[in-house]
């Protein structure tokens, strides 16, 4: 857990000036007595892009759900803009969420609405904009993800990657101040991947939004983010800026960059002895 303390110093020094939008302090969470998050501390400064990486099942989506206020921590807190998420009432929570966008891991497009209506959904729910302005806004968002031509299709007619891009357009429909992306790059081809990567970066910079990206794609994310947290088994095992991570040559980062199975992070979900399970005898 102290692999990167050295690298941290630099980052903290550089962010002292900018204020934090999201602060996670000693966050613990258990699903039916099984600890999923243990003592997480993270800071997401305003206007920055931060990546959260880690193996499948290490609790990244669970963490995002806490930031969105969809789960209550067992211990600790998530503070956004100075407000503790789990202490807000429904009205306060909804007011906070109107300033957030979340791209779900599997898109979560509304299957009974067309692509156009999916992107227009929040504009219609939350604003009184006239339909022709909504039309223009939707076209701009769809154009940005390269799917203006798919506006009349239903979600069931889209490929996985197209659905994810529509979901991305929907997520940023109202230009949120905090955007969370759960695996924005999964299932995208090389071209879409770098286009979407650029798009996320541009959205972040143009809107002054703060972005949190959960991803497995270390190469793409190191190119675009300002800071990276590595998680394993519910704790943070490493963190730093992309440059620091490239420079800091630990087992940990090597395992990630090269996708080696053996290393400090276990590939296996905690389990009993394999040989015993197969009833093998020596």
């Amino acid at each position: 857990m102290q692999w990167f303390r050295m690298c941290d110093l630099f980052f903290w020094a550089s962010t002292l000036s900018s204020t934090a939008l999201v602060e996670i302090r000693d966050l613990n969470f258990t699903y039916d007595k099984r600890p999923v998050l243990q003592g997480i501390n993270m800071t997401f400064p305003k206007g920055k892009m931060v990546a959260i990486m880690g193996l499948s099942g290490c609790g990244k989506t669970t963490l995002l759900r806490h930031i969105g206020g969809a789960l209550k921590p067992s211990k600790g807190s998530v503070k956004i803009d100075g407000q503790v998420m789990h202490e807000l009432d429904q009205a306060g929570l909804y007011a906070m969420r109107r300033k957030m966008g979340m791209l779900f891991q599997f898109g979560a497009l509304f299957t009974d609405l067309s692509v156009y209506d999916n992107v227009a959904f929040q504009m219609r729910e939350h604003t009184d904009l006239p339909e022709d302005i909504i039309h223009d806004l939707v076209m701009m968002k769809l154009h940005a993800v390269g799917l203006r031509g798919a506006q009349d299709m239903m979600p069931s007619e889209l490929s996985g990657g197209m659905a994810r891009r529509v979901a991305l357009a929907r997520t940023v429909a109202l230009d949120p101040m905090l955007v969370m992306y759960d695996e924005p790059f999964a299932g995208l081809d090389a071209i879409s991947l770098s286009v979407i990567g650029d798009l996320i970066r541009r959205l972040n910079d143009a809107l002054g939004a703060t972005s949190i990206i959960v991803t497995h794609d270390i190469q793409e994310s190191l190119k675009i983010v300002d800071y990276v947290y590595f998680m394993a088994g519910g704790v943070i095992v490493a963190e730093g800026t992309p440059d620091e991570l490239r420079a800091c040559d630990t087992d940990f980062v090597r395992q990630f960059v090269h996708g080696e199975m053996d290393g400090p992070m276990p590939f296996h979900y905690p389990s009993g002895d394999y040989r015993q399970e197969l009833n093998l005898r020596d």
């Binding site: 909804y94 979340m102 979560a108 299957t111 959904f121 929040q122």
Partner: protein, 262 residues
């Protein structure tokens, strides 16, 4: 030991059932609480009226026609023994308006529209559409559930009325056109026997109650489903079973209250 186990299992099931009934009631209260927006945006209700009401229309009409025809045949056979075939019209109409219309239409509605509602909402939950909506600060009970609830409550009495109307026509086809009961007395007897308040309003009231119960059960099961394929299929089955039982039990209770002693 085995007896203890059985008792405990029964106890568990009872507690479970009471618990679920409590949650369903709470859910119902929430739906009512968040209904205001459905009326402000009635367009949403109309869309659901189409998918639950209009889509059930064919099955309701066909079933109504056949039930009416069977009533015509059976009623004629029985009435003939007492030489009162001319009462066929009132027998067909009263059976339909008081009982068969509301009950059978509700049973069909539960299996056609209720199961579809449960599956739809359960799948929305399984594919995180409900979570996504909550993350967009849109209340899913107000946006998804309430319009479907009102669509169900509105369409049920209409469907039951159509069931009865088509059923009367089926009885007419068999009784008058095929068997040859006197047409004038068929309609005249019917008109004399069916009372607006006593029969028609009570029938409408019944189907209103059934519509409410079926729709609440269907929506609750969908909203409460485990977000997996098995969870959704189990919930769909429970919708059909529970709402059918609820319809038949409530029908007895309502009939006992409405038609006691006359």
């Amino acid at each position: 030991m085995a007896a203890m186990k059985t008792v405990r299992a029964i106890g568990h099931r009872v507690v479970d059932a009471v618990w679920r009934m409590g949650s369903a009631t709470r859910f119902f209260a929430l739906v009512l609480l968040y209904s205001a927006s459905s009326f402000r945006r009635f367009r949403l209700v109309i869309k659901e009226l189409f998918s639950s009401g209009v889509m059930s229309l064919i099955i309701i009409l066909v079933a109504g026609l056949f039930v009416g025809m069977v009533l015509g045949l059976q009623g004629y056979e029985t009435l003939k023994r007492y030489g009162s075939e001319s009462a066929l019209g009132s027998l067909v109409a009263l059976s339909l308006v008081r009982e068969l219309g509301p009950v059978l239409a509700a049973l069909l509605f539960a299996s056609r529209a209720g199961s579809a509602m449960t599956a739809e909402i359960g799948l929305m939950k399984a594919t995180e559409q409900i979570s996504a909506m909550e993350m967009m600060a849109v209340n899913p009970i107000a946006r998804i559930v309430a319009p479907r609830f009102w669509a169900g409550v509105i369409s049920m009495p209409l469907l039951a009325a159509m069931f009865s109307a088509v059923g009367v026509f089926g009885g007419y086809l068999v009784g008058v056109v095929q068997i040859g009961v006197d047409e004038g007395s068929f309609w005249a007897q019917m008109q004399a026997a069916v009372d607006f308040r006593e029969d028609i309003l009570n029938g409408v009231l019944k189907s209103f109650v059934f519509g409410t119960v079926v729709t609440v059960i269907a929506l609750f099961e969908g909203y409460d489903a485990q977000p997996t394929a098995e969870g959704v299929s189990g919930a769909t089955t429970r919708t059909v079973v529970n709402s059918s039982l609820a319809i038949l039990m409530l029908d007895f209770v309502l009939t006992a209250i409405m038609f006691r002693g006359n």
